[in-house]
Each structure stands twice: as structure tokens, then as C-alpha cells.
């Protein structure tokens, strides 16, 4: 074999390793939609607080419970959308959606996310709610970074950005709401669009 062939061998090895071990079906479109849901959810929360709560939020008030419901719906719709779009895409490409790679991806994503979610619920119960937005961003960022080992695309960088935003939000809690919108809304849309242009539109 000529050296040229060896080079080709190595690039082929690399390509096969990536293709076979990483869950490639995550779509940019689901990222964009998740971002839009987050912004709609934030707008609803903003509207609720401004109109029914005089611009301040009481933890034990009814409005607070509506906002928790609002957040839960944002998360739920984002997950449902991601599952539907990913399943459809995987079917089209003849890939299995629930194989070892995707199982590992979901599992590793959930470890920081569930720990963080529970922690946030616990401190909310202790009336400490000033850092909620920051904590959501930080734990979500950690979840993305942990899952990035099992996915193509650069959710790792999205994770770093979310953590950074979370830390900034912790320093200036007054802007927590807007940083939350930036992290969960705008960043998802930017990231989703980028992924869409890079991977999906080529099909």
C-alpha cells in the first residue's frame, strides 16, 4: 500500500468510529423549537407577574404555582418535540432510535439534570429562590457537557455557555429572568439554527 492509502485508512477509521458511536440523529430543528417554547414560557411568566402580582413574585402565591406549571409545560413540550422529530429523522435514515448509543446519551444527560432539578425543588421548599434561574442554567449546562460524549455536534460548547450564563446570573440575580431567556431561549435558537444548517439541510 502507498502512504496515500494509509492516510485514507486512518480517515476512514475515524469516520467509522464517530458514525457508529455517537447518536447523530439529534436535530437542529428541535433545538430551535425548544428555544421558542422557552421564550413563550418566559413571556407568559412575565405577563403573569406584571399583571397579577404587581411585578413581584411571592413564593407561596398562586401566581408562583402557575409559573411552575408554565416551566413544566415548556420542559414537557421541548422533550416531546425532540422525541418526535428525532424519531422521524431516525426512521427516515433507517437508524434505530433506541440503541446503546442513545441510551447512554439520555442516561448521562439525566444524571446532572435530575440531581439539579431535585436540588432546586428542595431549596425552593426552603424559601431560597433567588438563585433558581442560575441553578437551572448551571445544571442544564453540566447535563449537556456530560451528554456531549455521546453525541455529534457541539452541545459541549452550548453547555459551557449555559454554565457561564448561570454563573453570571448568580452574580447579578436582578437580571436572572433575562439571562434565563438568553440561555434557554436565544441560545437554543442560535444553536439549533447552526446545527440545522450544518447537518440537516444537507440531506
Amino acid at each position: 500500500m502507498e502512504p496515500k492509502d494509509y492516510l485514507k485508512d486512518i480517515s476512514e477509521i475515524k469516520q467509522l468510529m464517530n458514525k457508529s458511536s455517537r447518536f447523530i440523529s439529534l436535530s437542529g430543528l428541535s433545538g430551535i423549537l425548544a428555544g421558542i417554547y422557552a421564550i413563550i414560557g418566559a413571556a407568559v411568566a412575565y405577563w403573569l407577574v406584571m399583571n397579577y402580582s404587581n411585578g413581584t413574585l411571592l413564593l407561596n402565591g398562586e401566581i408562583f404555582r402557575w409559573i411552575l406549571l408554565d416551566l413544566a409545560l415548556v420542559a414537557l413540550f421541548s422533550i416531546i418535540t425532540a422525541v418526535i422529530i428525532t424519531t422521524r429523522k431516525a426512521k427516515k435514515q433507517g437508524e434505530k432510535i433506541w440503541d446503546g448509543t442513545s441510551r447512554r446519551l439520555v442516561f448521562n444527560f439525566l444524571i446532572p439534570l435530575v440531581s439539579g432539578g431535585l436540588y432546586i425543588l428542595i431549596i425552593l421548599n426552603q424559601q431560597k429562590y433567588g438563585q433558581t434561574g442560575a441553578l437551572m442554567l448551571i445544571f442544564y449546562g453540566l447535563a449537556l457537557i456530560n451528554a456531549s460524549k455521546y453525541s455529534i455536534g457541539n452541545i459541549r460548547y452550548l453547555g459551557f455557555i449555559e454554565i457561564l450564563l448561570g454563573l453570571i446570573s448568580a452574580v447579578i440575580p436582578g437580571y436572572g429572568f433575562w439571562i434565563w431567556v438568553l440561555g434557554f431561549g436565544v441560545m437554543h435558537i442560535i444553536y439549533g439554527t447552526w446545527m440545522y444548517l450544518k447537518h440537516d439541510s444537507k440531506e
Binding site: 494509509y6 467509522l16 446503546g100
Partner: protein
Amino acid sequence: MSIITNINKVFDHRIRLGIMSILMVNEYADFNTLKELLGATDGNLASHTKALEKADYISVEKQFIGRKPNTRYATTKLGRVAFNKHIEALEKLINTK
């Protein structure tokens, strides 16, 4: 000469190198997954997995999923060592030329 001796004859084929590449980064892969990823025919893939199995570089596990027979492949320790040596040899060859 030592560089040349590290080039492993068993891996000197696109499909075999491909099988090893996939198995190095996955706990295991079944026959159909390998077939899809490598774009090989049944017979072609079977002969190459057999060659790797014979060299003790991969292990084979046959089982039934429902009624369908399913064959899973995984690397052996020997196979992983041999593959890494092969890659190192390839890299050296490229760098020296």
C-alpha cells in the same frame, strides 16, 4: 524494519479495519449494524468477521431476540492491543514518508 512488522496483515483490508474501528468504540455491535455501517454484503462481512474471529481479535456471541437469531461481536483484549499497534504503525509510516 520494525515499523513494517507492526503493520498487521489481518487488518490489511478495508472491511476488517472497519469492523475493528466500530468495535473499538462500541461495547458490541450486531451483524446488521456492521453491515449498514460498512456497506458490505452478508457473505463478504461474514468472511471478514470469521477471519478476525480466527485471529482471536473479536468474540462472537449468538443469541435469539424473539425468534430472530442475532449475532453480536465485540473486541477481545488481544484484538484491541493489536489494533492499537496497527494504528501506531500506520501513523509512523505516514510520518516518516
